[in-house]
Amino acid sequence: MPSRTKDILIWITTFMIMLIICMPGLWIILSAFRTNGEILTKPAIWIPETLTLDNFRAIFGYGENVVGVPVASYFRNSIIISATSTFLAVFIGMTGGYAFARYRFPGKGSTFLWLMLSRTVPGIALSLPIFIIWSRMGIIDTKFGVILVYTAINVPFTIWLTEGFFRQVPQDLNEAAQIDGCTRWEAFWKIEFPLAKSGIASAGIFAFLTSWNEYALASQLTRSTDSKTLPVGLMDFTAQFTIDWAGMCAMAVIIIIPALILTFLVQKHLIAGLTFGGVKG
């Protein structure tokens, strides 16, 4: 096959695959700028006739059709919960991953295995026991309760990822730093942490996205504007007989934007992290 034809075929295939992947996202973004009427029209209108910002005005309480969804509160809850649980998961994961990479201790292999196995349990299967325990402890419908769950979900993954990175940093570097005058703690911060930071950044972004997008558990554990997160808040747009698709799509766009920004900011580390190419001696 001539290479030109091959190139064209590859481009067409790539385009089709990307189209399939991107279509739902594109549809959401388009719908966020349409009227509810146009979204529901059959057959579907592909190219919007008019674009409007009314949906965004509505959810933030401006214009004629004010939607009774406290997006600002949900946004704040999401930020607090995701940021806190990410910080905790990265800190615990980093220290845990370092311990698994550097120290010998009894039961190390099986502990690591159990941590990984814990990820095979679907979170929703644990939602009922967690709900019961949380309600006994009185932390249902609190940010703290959700943060706790998200941290627990993320820690095994952050341990696994950072462990791999710390294992790639030669032990000699830590020892050389100790001989150069560092305490073990200084050696960690000055030498091993900078060398593993790609891995730690990847662990952080994954933990943040998990927390930011999580719906199933949050929908069980949150009730009010005190703790409801954005994904749970999306359901506020469904009433008994109607669904405000336009408002829902506008809010979905608001959910996507911070995640996109964050991913772009750390994408250099993310790529290094995913290819495990971050550390070379």
């Binding site: 000699d172 050389a176 730093a177 100790q178 001989i179 150069d180 005058g181 305490t183 900078p194």
Partner: protein, 363 residues
Amino acid sequence: MAEVSLKNVVKRYGALEVVHGIDLEIAHNEFVVLVGPSGCGKSTTLRMIAGLEDISDGEIAIGDKVVNMLPPRKRNISMVFQNYALYPHMSVRENLGFSLKIAKRAPEDITKAVDDAADILGLTELLERTPAELSGGQRQRVAMGRAIVRHPDVFLFDEPLSNLDAKLRTQMRVEIKKLHSKVKTTIVYVTHDQIEAMTLADRIVIMKDGHIVQIGTPLEVFERPVDTFVAGFIGSPPMNLIEGSVKDDHVVFSDGRSLPVPPDFTGKIANGRRVVFGFRADVLMPKGHTLAESGVLHDIDLTIDMAEPLGSESILLTTLGGQDIQARMHNPRPVTSGEVLTCELHLEKCHLFDADTTQSLRG
């Protein structure tokens, strides 16, 4: 600058004891090489001096200070690692200055110390590069620079040349020796390469299975090995060792041939005693191809299996007493396989070891 003293130092990992009570006194400014086959405990000993491994028992002192419980950073030592252990995220300048920065020295002092060290090691051109941009030999020099920049009491080298190719290794060996003469400091150097040990050391410490077998100057361990292990380990090619039994001041080998016992031992070894007769290839030379040396010579006819020409000399492979042995031929001529040559053995340079204990019979 300080002496290092090890008293009955033991290292155990659980029930497994890997270093069995070592005693070693290293003098001020002395270059001591710990040498032995892998697993002999030499690296562990070095790491205990560094403080990177705990001591299970005994005492280590640097200068007049017992350092058993001190972390590495408080021992005022520096160490060059086998794989250099340069900090990959720092430039050469930052690598060299790291220890001074940790010690919170003034920036201008650091710059000066780094420039001086770079000057000594010829690194001035490379100061702004990162380790990834350096060749193996350059990395090795940076590692040494990092060690000398803070003027430690003791330098520790852990097989620093084993990752370099043969030519570079010879070159760096010379540089290390020069370095020692420039920055007079106590050096403890670990290697498995006996040539490195011979060429660098003031004193060699030969270790085996967690014990010190012999301590001595390079010539002492070469000329007076305390047992067959040292005899076989030090020197290249290794010493020829042939087992036999003593009869009337001769050592009789399994193939019925015999050699007279060396003059030092005449009349001292009882008949029937099992011994190992040892001599280096250098003292067994074909007639007409010897170095003009006088001494107690003994002629012996040997069938040559093979010759390895090295240019200025050849190593002859032959057998005696059922053992493969080697002889040395100066001003070599081509030798055919199976040729019989009459060789001269310098008897006064031969050794006798006890066959059971492997210890030298020299008092």
